[in-house]
Amino acid sequence: MTRVLTASRALSSRLGTTGLVYLALAGVLLVSAVFVAARGASLLTAANTVDLFTRSSLLGFLAIGMTLVILCRSLDLSVGYVAALSTVVAGLTMAGDPSRILLGVGATLGLAALIGLANGLVITRLRVNPFIATLGTGLVIKGYLDTQFQGPAGSIPAAFQTFGLSRIGVFPVSTLVMLVLAVLAVLYLRRTRTGFHMYAVGGDSEVARLSGVRPELPVITAHVLCSVMAGVAGLLLASRFGTGNTLVYNNGYELEAIAAVVLGGTYLLGGRGGVAGTVAGVFILATLDTVFNTLGIDPFVKDVLRGTIVIAAVALYARSQISRTAVRVRFPSGGAPPPAAGPPDPPPSPEPLAQGGKR
């Protein structure tokens, strides 16, 4: 079988996209260290490392959930609002009472799961485009929050604030929780039928259906899990603020999470990618933020740089990707006539023009 592999394809096929993302992460760390060193500072001080990990946990929760949804060729634009709602629910349920922590966590995650279920059902049963469906859900939540709450609501007991504030060595507890959940998500995708079927539905839902997969199930599951992860992110925010705060939806978390997922090598149209890459994507974005902070770069310039990097990365992955549909190539190498035994001749020069052109 003749396989024409360009150099970049060869590299990506040896490393896999995930390998490529980790390579990019290493590159980003290296370049950042050099830049910071040029300013006479050091990137990997304890303070910077803690900052980097702290940034990564919140985005990590959201991006892990988003990965599942995107793998199914869906999208969730409501995660920022779900996180905001979750801070309020956690604050009000716990009401500063340490004995109500478990109840608060349960109520928050349960509500988030219900929202995810609603998203999934609207998308699969009513066949509403995921973009619109989840945007709608988000706006409903926003409207509710804006009318019902002005300013902080409820309070988080000190015991639960340790989730957001304490750390072991340079590792914040929240980052460790995020990494544990990432490992669980990786196992889920690689070891459960539903995980397998998420890839199948995202890759080609018709193929999945013809193979006996019910295409709705993985999509709904992904949306529920994504919302629950947004709930976890909300819990983290609440524990950091010590109270419920509705205004966190202004931070554009949903788009940042999508950027991290895509940066991590998951194909926006589904069927390809994984949580391992997403984690690297999260760390790349967190590293950039930390570096920009250390260097004191103007926040607007920061956004310009971040946007450019996301676009450049995705363009790079796209280059190394072979067309997803199996195109049947009849004459791959230039179409030597079938009876000819020798090596294929160069294509015949078709027009006398080729020699006759005046120079």
Binding site: F196, Y199, A200, G212
Partner: protein
């Protein structure tokens, strides 16, 4: 010996939107037998397979599997019952591994988790059984060649313990050495007592492989018989010979200035789907491109128009080297393409007739588009376009025939020198067909070079001055206009020409006719 055949279909009929595509077809398949299904484009072969596979439901008729009546409402039901189908389009996920594809939807589990090791082991065993050690269960499907992907489809079918496997044009995309691999696999399957239903356009394969041949024509069963007693030429005769349903307008006296000049010339054209295409069309000439589905007809239209351009060879229009790299360049060079898929590629359905007619003018030839656009109402009325809402009506509300007239008007407004018409009469009524035929004749008479592509052989034969027959992406031969359908089919299927009967019976290798287009 069981008394029942493995599969028996009796009186299977099926209609789509009132059009009957299968008329009471009977078919029997025995264990270990390869039953070939042949017929022209649109004869109903694929529909019959889809009925068997549970993709479509038959309107009437019985399907019995080993003597028990079955009725499949979903492809998965058919698979569970042991009827597997390898369709023309791949049903694989390119981003997943071979094993993951084979066991999709039925992943084996151990303690609640997917047992990937068992999956890979079983896939490897199935591959080994077929004598295929070259394919790794862990490699991603997209990294496999087309032939290997086909093997994966077959392995997927086998993993269901399929007793009946139907294959729709399995060799359509395979190179010669890959076909041998398929032959070998088919041999193994038959040894195991699997019954194979095989659709192919290539008569050589049919005579290589088949025990029984069934000929379908226009949804009717024409003949069923053992392959050994059939001659290729007889088979071709049974496949063709539809009644001519339309009378074609007479040729007109050419009067345009470009009549007789070579307006379109392709030499040695080739890309991933085509090779060694040599083609010349003169002003005033109608050249028909004949060939079976997938033989490269539409691919030539697309290559000429810069959609999937020729990567080898060259295209000249009116003596100037054109080599269009995009439809825009093609239009500028004087080409027009009436696409096969009117609704998706030819029209902007929710825009008005007028807007659609101006589309190419405004987009590609903005200078002077106003002047040319003034002719559009004239062109539309000359085409006898009937629209209740006038020229501002959205085209989605028009009949197929009237929609096609809008597409034609769009291109006529650009004054093309070369017009490529891909299935211009598909899905339109008889009256509109006549209007299209008349228009083609008039265009030719005015000096336009016309390349006509059609699956309806009578139409091609009746309209074209010359027929270029394609097979497997190459020019299989050329015939004068008015040739018999049999002659065209013989070339297109690679059957030997009349008079060479004897060789087919004694020589299983069969003839493989390719007229090499010598540069």
């Amino acid at each position: 010996m069981s008394t029942h055949p493995l599969l028996r279909m009796t009186g299977v009929s099926k209609s789509f939107l009132g059009v009957r595509v299968l008329h009471g077809v009977d078919l029997e398949l025995r264990a270990g037998e390869l039953h070939a299904l042949v017929g022209e484009n649109g004869a109903g072969k694929s529909t019959l397979m889809k009925v068997l596979a549970g993709v479509h439901r038959a309107d009437s008729g019985r399907i019995e599997l080993a003597g028990r009546e079955v009725s499949f409402e979903h492809p998965v039901q058919a698979q569970r019952a042991g009827v597997a189908t390898v369709f023309q389009e791949f049903n694989l996920l390119p981003e997943r591994t071979v094993a993951q594809n084979v066991f999709l939807g039925r992943e084996p589990r151990r303690r609640g988790l997917v047992d990937e090791r068992a999956m890979e082991r079983d896939t490897a065993r199935l591959l080994d059984d077929l004598g295929l050690e070259g394919i790794e269960p862990r490699s991603k499907v997209r990294s496999l060649s087309v032939a290997e992907q086909q093997v994966v489809e077959i392995v997927k079918a086998l993993s269901h313990d399929a007793r009946v496997i139907s294959m729709d044009e399995p060799t359509a995309a395979l190179a010669d050495h890959e076909v041998e691999l398929l032959y070998r696999i088919i041999g193994r399957l038959r040894e195991r007592g699997v019954g194979i239903l095989y659709v192919s356009h290539r008569l050589r394969e049919i005579f290589d492989l088949a025990d029984t041949i069934t000929v379908l024509k226009d949804g009717h069963l024409v003949d069923t018989g053992p392959a050994s007693g059939t001659r290729p030429a007889d088979l071709v005769r049974k496949m063709v010979g539809r009644p001519v349903s339309a009378v074609f307008p007479e040729r007109l006296e050419p009067r345009g200035e470009h009549v007789g000049e070579v307006r379109l010339s392709v030499s040695g054209g080739g890309n991933a789907q085509l090779d060694g295409i040599d083609l010349q069309v003169r002003g005033g000439e109608i050249v028909g491109l004949a060939g079976l589905q997938g033989s490269g007809r539409t691919e030539i239209a697309h290559a000429l128009f810069g959609i999937d351009r020729f990567t080898r060879g060259g295209v000249s229009v009116d003596g100037l080297r054109a080599d269009p790299r995009s439809p825009r360049q093609a239009v500028r060079a004087g080409l027009a393409l009436v696409t096969e898929d009117r609704k998706a590629q030819g029209l902007s359905l929710n825009q008005s007739i007028l807007a659609n007619s101006r589309l190419v003018l405004d987009a590609v030839l903005p200078s002077g588009s106003g002047r040319r656009a003034r002719r559009i109402p004239g062109i539309l009325s000359a085409l006898e376009l009937v629209a209740r809402g006038g020229h501002h009506q959205e085209v989605r509300y028009l009949s197929g025939g009237n929609q096609q007239k809008v597409v034609l008007a769009k291109w006529l407004a650009t004054d093309p020198g070369v017009m490529v018409l891909d299935e211009p009469t598909r899905g339109i009524d008889v009256g509109a067909k006549q209007a299209v035929y008349t228009l083609i004749r008039e265009l030719a008479a005015s000096g336009v070079a016309i390349l006509l592509i059609s699956s309806e052989l009578p139409e091609l034969i009746g309209m074209a001055d010359r027929l270029v027959v394609l097979g497997d992406g190459r020019v299989a031969g050329e015939l004068p206009g008015g040739s018999s359908e049999e002659a065209v089919m013989a070339l297109a299927t690679g059957a030997p020409p009349d008079g060479a009967h004897e060789s087919a019976d004694e020589d299983s290798a069969g003839p493989h006719r390719h007229e090499e287009a010598a540069p």
